[in-house]
């Protein structure tokens, strides 16, 4: 035949343009490990089974984690939420914390966002061309190893610092992270439902305002309560701002007077903005806000 295919092939290609095999060698020449000491073995199935043993240990740990800890989900994104403490995923924390350091932020932010990470990750990327010696053992190439150890220590340290700072911020602003808050609320709701016999997952019944025509309502507008607690006075659950509906079930009048007069958490004091009579009138009305008897 003109195209010179091997005669023992059963399928005859017309106009054979396949890449010719070079004599003997396969598509990839495996390196010869006979120079290495000890027993080498075939990849499949011998070695892969052993690697799979390690894989099974990892898989079991992974599935236990997945089943015991649900993936977190907070409240829907609300761009107007000013009190939210932004947090990247944990593996970005070191960079996030790094950018808060004095000499790589503000006027020097280019150092922090481009120069230093660029040098660090660039040299990691090009490590084989920077560390060109033949020596492979890490204790025989001290400069490379020390640079790596120092980078690792800084990364761990910055991550830890960032996390501690976040915990501290949560503490001083008295915030519970949303995803935890949401989970707790769901659990409470489920327990409540189990007690009262109402199936879980139903929205809480709306609590109407008591005496919605009361002159105290005018005070909520005058004092700008509505700015945070909303025009409908229902608060903003995801920002931890309580609703006025049914607030009388949660606080007594004395407690309400204290909260309005002195503030609480993120709520400012209204001592200077409202007179004592106005506070009295407002809190009397608030303490009447109870859910209707069932």
């Amino acid at each position: 035949m003109a195209h010179g295919h091997k005669s023992n092939e059963k399928v005859v290609f017309v106009g054979d343009s396949r890449v010719r095999k070079k004599a003997v060698t396969g598509p990839i020449t495996p390196p010869d490990y006979s120079a290495y000491p000890g027993k080498s073995e075939a990849f499949i199935p011998n070695f892969l089974l052993k690697e799979w043993m390690v894989g099974v240990v990892v898989l079991v740990g992974f599935l236990v984690l997945t089943i015991s800890e649900a993936a977190p989900l907070g409240y829907p994104a609300d761009p107007t939420n000013a009190s939210f403490i932004p947090m990247p995923d944990w593996y970005f924390l070191f960079l996030y914390q790094f950018l808060k350091l004095q000499y790589v932020s503000k006027d020097y932010v280019v150092l922090g966002t481009v120069a230093i990470p660029g040098i660090a990750f660039g040299s990691l990327l090009l490590a084989p061309f920077l560390d060109t010696g033949k020596e492979r053992r890490f204790y025989r190439r001290p400069i490379t190893s020390i640079l790596m150890f120092m980078s690792l220590i800084s990364v761990f340290y910055l991550t830890k610092q960032s996390w501690d700072h976040y915990q501290h911020e949560l503490k001083i602003t008295n915030t519970i992270p949303e995803q935890i808050l949401r989970e707790e609320k769901a659990r409470e709701a489920a327990e409540e439902a189990a007690k009262s016999g109402v199936p879980a997952g139903q929205p809480a019944p709306e609590i109407p305002l008591v005496d919605a025509k009361d002159p105290a309502v005018a005070i909520t507008q005058k004092a700008q309560c509505v700015a945070c607690h909303g025009a409908d006075l229902k608060g903003n659950e995801s920002s931890g701002i309580p609703s006025f509906h049914g607030i009388g079930d949660k606080f007594s009048k004395e407690e309400l007077v204290d909260i309005v007069t002195n503030g609480k958490n993120n709520m400012p004091s209204f001592k200077d903005k409202l007179s004592a009579e106005e506070i009295d009138q407002l809190t009397t009305w608030l303490s009447k806000q109870k859910a209707p008897a069932k």
Binding site: E9, K39, A42, V54, V58, P76, M87, D89, P128, R136
Partner: protein, 223 residues
């Protein structure tokens, strides 16, 4: 029957050498945890790939429910998490797997680094490996936004602000990432496309190169 089908295909495509090459290549003793327990450090690369496969599979199932728009993204994740049978498990695997893949890749990188395995002739494989590392970080960053809760929204906003501080091209990077003036509907669809199509495509190509090179060059010898 199966053998007949296999032979029929093999006659036409000559597939035997391909898989025999993968199956039969010798794995030396010094990387085998059955011979030396400490050789488990050589398993991190394989485990990274294993978790990556889990990520791809769980991610494929997540896209069956996820709706990439700002009204429904959160609702669809909420529905998936709390209403769909085993939805919480699948999302859990994708969520925790994302962290685990970073951990495994980090350990694999350190193993390669401290055994000096990146040295000649394996420089190119190290560079490809680092590119895979950056792609993975990109997948982590874009995937973080998708549930569209406050955590996602504000972290992305900060991330884009950081990108914006790059001199000269910062504002362009910002607009490219946001797809507009604000972090909003365009950002979400953009991140979704990057997370589901662009980066996984690049990842698979780089993984193919990574595996081809390790087969071609073989694993580095004992220290």
């Amino acid at each position: 029957m199966m053998k007949g089908i296999y032979n029929w295909i093999d006659e036409r495509l000559d597939i035997t050498p391909m898989w025999r090459d993968v199956a039969d290549h010798e794995v030396p003793e010094h990387v085998n945890p059955a011979h030396h327990f400490s050789a488990f450090v050589y398993c991190f690369g394989g485990l990274t790939f294993f978790i990556t496969v889990i990520q791809i599979l769980s991610g494929m199932f997540l896209t069956m429910y996820f709706v990439p728009d700002i009204i429904n993204a959160y609702k669809s994740v909420d529905f998936l998490q709390h209403k769909v049978a085993f939805g919480g498990i699948v999302r859990g695997m994708h969520h925790w797997g994302a962290s685990l893949v970073i951990v495994m890749m980090f350990l694999h990188t350190l193993r390669v680094f401290f055994t000096g395995s990146y040295k000649a002739p394996r420089e190119m494989n190290w560079v490809v490996g680092m590119l895979i590392f950056f792609i993975m970080l990109g997948l982590g960053f874009t995937g973080y936004l998708l549930p569209w809760d406050n955590k996602a929204y504000f972290a992305t906003k900060v991330g884009i602000q950081i990108a914006e501080s790059v001199p000269y091209i910062g504002t362009y990077i910002k607009e490219l990432m946001q797809g507009g003036e604000i972090v909003g509907a365009e950002t979400l669809t953009r991140f979704f496309a990057i997370h589901v199509f662009f980066l996984p495509g690049a990842l698979l190509a780089l993984l193919a190169a990574h595996f081809f090179m390790i087969r071609k060059q073989g694993i580095s010898g004992p220290l």
